[in-house]
Amino acid sequence: MSEPFANEENDPRLERAARALAEVGHGRSDDAARTRARILQSHRDKQQRSAWLYAAAAVLALSLGVPTAWAWATGRLAHWLEPEAPAAPSAPSSAAVGERRPPREDDEPVTPEVTAPSAPELPEPITEAAPPEPAPVVLAPPVEAPDLAPPEEAGAEGPVVDPAERRAYREAHALHFDARDAEGALAAWDRYLTRYPSGRFAIEARYNRALCLVRLGRENEAREALAPFAAGRYGEYRRREAAALTEAMTP
């Protein structure tokens, strides 16, 4: 079809070089099987992550949905949403509530003698408008919030080994080796090392951070980061690799 244009302005040198590149750059590789496994692993990880996200969303929906349904069933939901319908003139009682709320806001700037603005704010309209109902309306949401928060906090306190450190390391590791996001991984390694400069995985984190710098082409920083490894400050750990990488970066 439009093939000829590739041969327009024939240049035999370019053609020969292109042919050579086509022949040399075939698609067989010793790493093909490893890459295949890596791809499938990444795919599985991704699916697992989305499954976790769905689960978390479901838990969140439940934790928000159940109290909301309860509030709706008990008629308290309407009170939560009350401020949206302040001008409804139909029922005299609701109108009274609606009218009383705005003045409450006005009171603050106008009346300087009010010493505790926050304390009288909430109880005032509630008790005046409908004594039996507003009290639970105000109390209900705070009851829900502590219910949700403590289990997470309790879980975090439980284990003896610092799970936050492990999480920070895993996060950086996933960005580096699964997502292969050098910039993101570098930031994550930096975060880890700032929080845990002598943490359990600090040496690995330092080496991986250096690899990110190499990948990002930040050669001076990479050389600096690799130097302690190449010099054997961490024994044999990554000494040879660090030396080879440093040498490869030498102009």
């Binding site: 093939e3 040198r13 050579a20 022949e23 067989r28 295949r36 791809i39």
Partner: protein, 187 residues
């Protein structure tokens, strides 16, 4: 045309890929990884970056397969994903690392290959080096149209630009390559 390139089988594979079927992903890899890797090597010029690109292409495939309309083959679609990924700035940086690695390996390979193979490799290496001096958009059209001898229509589809743009880019790329080759001869 391979079995997996045939429309019906390809359609089935695409449907399964859309469902996120891991086995379909493995089949797609088995059928097309060589073509994608060859393109990646020609474009990037080194093994490590090419392997990374192949990885990224197939990892992305389940997410982007929804955009595949079946107008081209799945293989062409995969090459277009590779082209898109290669445009990313990070690739250029990774390529530099690859260049370092090549520098490291060159002396070892030269002594063990037959003369013609050495010459061919040298030619390929020269073109790769020159391609690295071109902007990615021009490099893409050179690899697609001159090295892989694809039609301008196919190249335009892969790169996602009009055919006229492909021609213009190719024109300027050729000009630069010719200049570089002349300079090389003078040296």
């Amino acid at each position: 045309m391979s079995a997996l390139e045939r429309p019906v089988v390809g359609d089935l594979l695409v449907t399964r890929l859309r469902r996120g079927d891991a086995r379909a992903l493995a089949e797609a890899y088995d059928a097309h990884h060589e073509a994608v890797r060859a393109f990646a090597r020609r474009l990037l010029g080194d093994e490590v970056s090419a392997e990374d690109l192949v990885h990224d292409v197939f990892v992305t495939l389940p997410d982007v397969i929804g955009r595949f309309e079946g107008r081209s083959s799945l293989r062409t679609f995969l090459v277009s994903i590779a082209a898109n990924h290669a445009r990313h700035a990070k690739r250029a940086r990774a390529r530099r690392l690859g260049a370092y690695e090549r520098l490291h390996e060159e002396p070892r390979t030269e002594s063990t290959t037959p003369e013609d193979e050495v010459e061919r490799r040298a030619l390929a290496a020269t073109l790769t080096r020159m391609l690295e001096a071109l902007p990615m958009e021009q490099r893409l059209v050179v690899v697609l149209c001159i090295v892989e001898e694809r039609t301008s229509t196919e190249a335009a589809e892969i790169v996602g630009v009009p055919e006229a743009t492909v021609r213009t880019r190719l024109f300027y790329a050729r000009k630069k390559l010719r200049e570089m080759m002349d300079a090389e001869v003078v040296r």
